[in-house]
Symmetry: C2
Subunit: 217 residues, 2 copies
DNA sequence: ACCTGAACACCGTTCAAGT
DNA sequence: ACCTGAACACCGTTCAAGT
């Protein structure tokens, strides 16, 4: 009963466009993401989008930054390893819900939310008492793990449900050259019932390493 | 004087197509890579490519596998950490020469060369005496580092020479919210004269961590 | 200020036709 | 077996015109 506008169902706007684009990419993948299709979802003409977004690149930057904003920042007081571990685990969850994001993350300009996120990680490392060199390296190690590990995991998931039969056949064929370690590894993957927390295990390797190097220096 | 064929300058073939595609992507980036442009470089019609490559996806898989084949495999005897460190450093170099590759690596089916590479890393970890769980995690940690770290580095390089001015301005603007740690980090990047071997430092964090966990278990 | 259809210069790929 | 032009169903984006 409140507002009954004639044509514009809702006022367009950058936020609404980015949300629609994220929802579409979550469901159909980033390759299927098209200006025309977003417009279709929003019930507007294609060119209307360009009133709020300068181009597709700009839109992708905005999308990544919204995802970055969904990640819980590490708490800055107390146990620095625990704080980073918790925040990284949350980032891992968020990125798995937006499987198109990790591949975009590194290759595009950081928006404000991602800069804030980067800053908070650096702050935690600094206040942990690590020296400048170790903060520098530690930041790279931690962010690389979050993005790189998740990207690898997503690649594995996508290859799996894309063509599992083809993969199995390819293996039996290439197995003629015999890659026994590879076969074992794939078998281990199939036995791994998602309860092993590989992500956290490797992250602890890095965090404990940072702490150890810091103490001994 | 030897062979003077009339029209076909050289016999087309999958290998020659992939090499042309790699050269083009190295120079202009993967976004600019087009079936039509590869055909142009090779002096043939677009559709001729499809006699040797089933589609663009297949071509990208082949391109990545050639890059994988350029990486020196870790030597299987002797010091396992040294072998992995040397191979990883070489992979890092190779990937920096094909900056489009890391983003493709994780998201596409592995070809034979990449499977061989994966197998050799697993072999080294196994023969190092690590238990199954640690081989499994160690493989993920090492490959994640190679791809993830390099991808991050490439992203930084590309953002830099894409629009350095815009980045500087953006910083001065977003600095109104003040991200002091971030500013320090960027300054450290600018002072880092490529002689610090961040790649190796973080890799050692992982390798030493693996060794330590293995010994204490 | 915001919206939009028509048009432009591109894509990857199918198809039918050539040798 | 290998090559290829024409055609199809798409892209992102410019431009001029609407409100």
């Amino acid at each position: 009963m409140a507002t009954q506008s004639p044509t514009p169902v809702k006022p367009l706007g950058k936020q609404r466009i980015l949300e629609a684009a994220i929802a579409y990419a979550d469901e159909h993948g980033v390759d299927a993401l098209t200006m025309r299709r977003i417009a279709g979802k929003l019930g507007c003409g294609v060119m209307s989008l360009y009133n709020h977004v300068s181009n597709k690149e700009d839109m992708l930057v905005g999308m990544v930054d919204i995802v970055a904003g969904e990640i819980e920042l590490p708490s800055v007081n107390g146990d620095w390893k625990g704080a980073l571990r918790a925040s990284a685990a949350n980032a891992h969850e968020v990125l798995l819900m937006h499987q198109w994001a990790p591949a975009q993350w590194s290759l595009r300009m950081p928006g404000p939310a991602r800069i804030r996120y980067m800053d908070s990680i650096l702050q935690v490392l600094t206040e942990a008492g690590l020296d400048a060199r170790l903060v520098y390296s530690g930041y790279h190690a931690v962010t690389m793990h979050i993005i790189g590990f998740t990207l690898q995991e997503i690649g594995y998931l996508q290859v799996l449900d894309a063509d599992f039969d083809e993969l199995a056949n390819k293996f039996l064929k290439d197995l003629s050259g015999d890659f026994p370690y590879m076969v074992d590894h794939v078998r281990a993957h199939m036995d791994d019932n998602c309860d092993s927390d590989e992500f956290g295990f490797v992250l602890d390797l890095i965090l404990d390493g940072l702490e150890r190097v810091s103490v001994t220096s």
